[in-house]
Amino acid sequence: MLRTEEFTLNMGPQHPATHGVFRLILHLDGETIVKAEPVLGYLHRGIEKLAESRTYTQVIPYTDRLDYLAAMLNNLGYVQAVEKMIGVEVPERAEYIRVIVSEMSRIASHCIATGAYALDLGGFTGFMYPFREREKLMDMFEMICGSRMTFSYIRVGGVAADLPEEFYPAIKKFLQEFPSCVDEYDGLITGNEIFQARTKGIGILPAEKAVKYSLSGPVLRGSGVKYDLRKARPYGIYDRFDFEVPVGKNGDCFDRYYCRILEMRQSHRIIKQALEQLQELPEGPVMAKVPKVLKPPKGDVYHEIEGAKGILGYYVVSDGTVNPYRVHVRRPSFINLDLIDEMCRGWKIADVVAILGSIDIVLGEVDC
């Protein structure tokens, strides 16, 4: 009998489809995967250790660098945790601005997830169109807070500055064009038979296994578990908007991908409602009365929000001084990866790329 031998392939830290410096040691039998061993830590900057020698406001720029594709949501999570500890009341106007800005950040993150996924499967044009929408969003972010990706805009007690005048026409134009752009992605990527052949029935993730392994976000909802923190445990003013939580049926790559497309449409709805309600609000402050140097009382708090990649939690311990005693970040991409080995077994190399793309990880968040 022909003696075949297993050979290991290094889908190494430097690989076009690993969305960053993530390494997967594949033990291959021909093209089928026998074992996939993830190796992490190439982008570990020790943000949790850095935060311990910074003041509470100085930690905000570091939270931008966790999931640098949806930085607003990182800011929101950390800032709401600290506010819970201090017990400060955020003004109405700032709450609405926070919702608009974080939903915009969620759409920008899902645009990249969709684009990068189409690129991983070979459709280069499918990569370009979502990035065009993301450029529009980044220009609006630049108007609001001066930088395109790392905003540090949401502050303890409100937001850094009110929305500028030229923001409103830009967001209205974006809200008008966006649904037709998502239809374009549907037509080009979702409807495409080759794309469906590459994603339907691949990397099946049963619902109870997803719950047992604490997966979250579109990965969990793709398997049919209806759990979105904005609905399950509303934080901020999310209970004032009506939107649905898209849920997949059989937990394969296609459902995870399609959940993100539907979530983009829902975020679009939220922004529209939030903008209408914001414009009815009278002019008001965007920042509560908060001392320049924050000294939260001794104690700890754990606060979770629905990040773009999943549940983003911040556990902040304060010992009464100016610097936080311990900041722990519950990172969705990190925890969504713990099933990668089982999900990839038995599939081909091309499917590993599809499965990894459907989980949508960002290495800044995985390695923290």
């Binding site: 070979g122 065009r132 790329v353």
Partner: protein, 349 residues
């Protein structure tokens, strides 16, 4: 204008004959000229197509594509080739040196060899071979060996995977291509390209053999490793397949050979199915060879359009599609053509 090239060839022959060369020698020199012309045509075409592809890709993706180097970006490919020539050719340790250096040199051979037979216009084929189509199929499948040589010689796991994928893909798409062409040959009864074109006087074979054209086109896309079948160098899976380890001129040769292959398959499709130099609806004031070029470029645009729209197929889906769909379809096509020819004979057409 119609037979511009035929007259020039004739006048060159007279000059040589008058200057006292023996007919045999003048023939040899004339064939040299023809081959030189074809070589220049293929290389210029390869350069131009790289620029055309990047422009079309740009315009499809709502951006401009190269427009900085030279007027409207026309010198972009020459700049690329210049850059690639100046790059150092790195031979990985443990690589099989001879094969590693031989494969980029050989990659251009099969397409060039076949271009000798391709009729650019009315009796403008360099060599009027009466088994033209058969020669094309035989030589075109040589490039599989060269890709595999590159994949095996560069001693890199990704190249090995890429090489094996290329072998699997090109061999399994050779069969439907042959069977599709068989449909055409059954109608014309000859393998000579010019005869096939002349047989399409009144109806092009694309109308009498639509299924064969479709199968041939899909198999052609797979032969040149173009999307959606570009598994050989699937960037996001196996980095760059057989030519991961190549840098500098080696990589440029592979890159340009892909375009030469594409031009070749489009020429063959134009000859077999779109009536070569025959003008559609009798517009003969445009010379034949320009019609030939027009048809080739329409097909090449179709290749590029496919590439910038579709994602990539997985390996086993590719094989499944090739063997389970294309081969039975082409066999059915042969059967139907056979029956149709018999029936038409009987009612005495």
């Amino acid at each position: 204008m119609e037979n511009l090239f035929v007259n020039t060839a004739g006048s060159i022959r007279n000059i040589m004959e008058n200057s006292g060369l023996s007919p045999l020698l003048s023939d040899a020199v004339l064939v040299m000229f023809k081959l030189l012309a074809i070589l220049v045509f293929v290389l210029i075409n390869a350069l131009w197509l790289v620029y055309m592809e990047r422009k079309i890709a740009g315009y499809i993706q709502c951006r401009y594509g190269p427009n900085r180097v030279g007027p409207k970006g026309l010198l972009q490919t020459t700049a690329d080739i210049g850059k690639l020539i100046s790059k150092e050719i790195i031979i990985p340790r443990g690589a099989d040196k001879i094969l590693f250096l031989l494969s980029p040199a050989l990659i251009f051979a099969p397409p060039l060899m076949v271009f000798m037979v391709v009729p650019f216009g009315e009796n403008m084929a360099a060599v009027e071979l009466n088994i033209g189509v058969f020669y094309f199929l035989a030589v075109a499948s040589l490039s599989t060996v060269i890709f595999w040589m590159a994949g095996w010689a560069s001693n890199n796991k990704y190249s090995l995977l890429g090489g094996m994928r290329v072998v699997a893909q090109m061999i399994s798409y050779e069969l439907p291509m042959v069977l599709a062409i068989l449909g055409v040959v059954m109608i014309t009864g000859t393998l000579n390209m010019s005869e096939i074109i002349r047989a399409q006087e009144n109806t092009w074979f694309i109308f009498t053999q639509p299924v064969a054209f479709l199968i041939y086109f899909i198999a052609g896309v797979a032969e040149c490793n173009r999307a959606p079948f570009d598994l050989a160098e699937g960037e996001s899976e196996i980095v760059a397949g057989p030519f991961t380890e190549y840098s500098g001129m080696g990589f440029a040769m592979f890159f340009l050979a892909e375009y030469a292959n594409m031009v070749l398959v489009s020429f063959m499709a134009a000859t077999l199915f779109l009536g070569g130099w025959l003008a559609p609806f009798g517009l003969t004031f445009i010379p034949g060879w320009i019609w030939m070029l027009l048809k080739v470029y329409v097909l090449i645009f179709l290749f590029m359009w496919l590439r910038w729209t579709y994602p990539r197929i997985r390996v086993d889906q590719l094989m499944g599609f090739g063997w389970k769909v294309l081969v039975p379809l082409s066999l059915a096509n042969i059967f139907v053509t056979g029956v149709a020819i018999k029936v038409l004979d009987m009612i005495g057409w």
